[in-house]
Amino acid sequence: MGGNSSKITAQDQAIYDLKLQRDRLHQYQRRITHLTTRETEIARTLLSQGDKARALLALRRKKYQESLLAKTDQQLEQLEKLVSSVEFALIQKDVVFGLQQGTKVLKEIHAEMGGIDKVEKLMGETQEEIEYQKEVSEMLGGRISVQDEEEVEEELARLETELAPKAATSKVAEPVAMLPSVPDTELPEVGEGRRQEAAKLVGEERREAIAA
């Protein structure tokens, strides 16, 4: 019976044995109960036949069997208790095992982090790196690249060209249908010298802003 016995543990076997004992007691009780009812019947028939002595004997037997029944009841209770405590102990074992596993994993993770000192050191280093990054940013922020400067100039020019015709139209107050006129303002000539000047200006502004 039962193919592989690997899934049946020693505890299972023990519970099974206990339950078998309980089943046997159960069956025994049934037999006794059957006997007691029969003794009563025997006593009744004997009494109707006038055999008082033997009727008494049958009743005595019945009494004795009833006491047996009470005893087996107690035993049955003991067995039931034992079975349930074994089952409960098994559950407890599982819980402890689960806790053990969890603690182990937690410990492993902590070990991987390397203790409080290491974390502290790491946090210090992080702070240092952040400071360093700030410094670098500041230093870099002081100098806008040539290309950026060109873009800034271009945008300024574009804004000017946008604004100029609007100013013109508002003066004329002509209907909306009028097409935008060609800008009549001259594009500002930007020389190399001025550009650097502007760059310096912007840079100074930035520095002030940061200082503020």
Binding site: K7, Q13, D23
Partner: protein
């Protein structure tokens, strides 16, 4: 319509030709179908799991006696025709000669009436195990059929051999494992 302990017999049961094997093939088939469903519902009603055919047809003390004998119309089913009905039911998996799975030849007097097949009982047991949280528990067959924990479940009072058959179905599926001997079998559910 005769009743037997609350069981309502169908009209056919009081119809004399119902007890005579019909010659016409299609009528015969209909008759066999009727008888088999009657036997199944009767056995289900009275929780009969196996029948001794000679008892059921001859002995008035047998619980299945009113099934094959209708004294009101003075008709009884002949044992040979009962055998034919059983063989008819066997084709549907609703009956099995007792002992035929143990290489004892079969074709004897006792027959399993499967108003629930072992597979179906296995499903019932599995559902019960699931529902009552008995997974991973060890139980004895006696406990399952006679114990206090299963009182009220459908398989309480079930024929132990039939329950063992169902458990073996579960074991084959890997949902249970048996332990101990044939006499007091234990089972662990997974």
């Amino acid at each position: 319509m005769a009743t037997s302990e609350g069981f309502q017999f169908p009209k056919e049961h009081s119809f004399p030709p119902f007890y005579t094997p019909q010659i016409n093939l299609s009528t015969r088939h209909a008759q066999l179908t009727k008888w088999s469903s009657l036997i199944l519902s009767y056995c289900r009603h009275h929780s009969i799991y196996r029948l001794s055919l000679s008892d059921a047809t001859n002995s008035p003390s047998s619980p299945a006696y009113p099934l094959f004998n209708n004294e009101a119309i003075n008709r009884r089913l002949s044992p040979s025709y009962v055998k034919e009905i059983v063989n008819f039911m066997k084709k549907d998996g609703r009956a099995e000669w007792y002992g035929s799975d143990k290489n004892e030849g079969g074709g004897g007097d006792v027959v399993w009436i499967y108003w629930r097949t072992p597979e179906e009982w296995a499903g019932v047991v599995e559902g019960w195990v699931e529902e009552t949280g008995n997974k991973g528990q060890v139980m004895t067959v006696y406990e399952l059929t006679e114990g206090e924990t299963t009182r009220g479940s459908e398989f309480w009072g079930l024929d132990q051999e039939l329950l063992i058959k169902a458990i073996q179905v579960l074991a084959k599926k890997g949902r249970a494992q048996t332990m101990g001997g044939e006499e007091n079998l234990g089972v662990k559910f997974f």
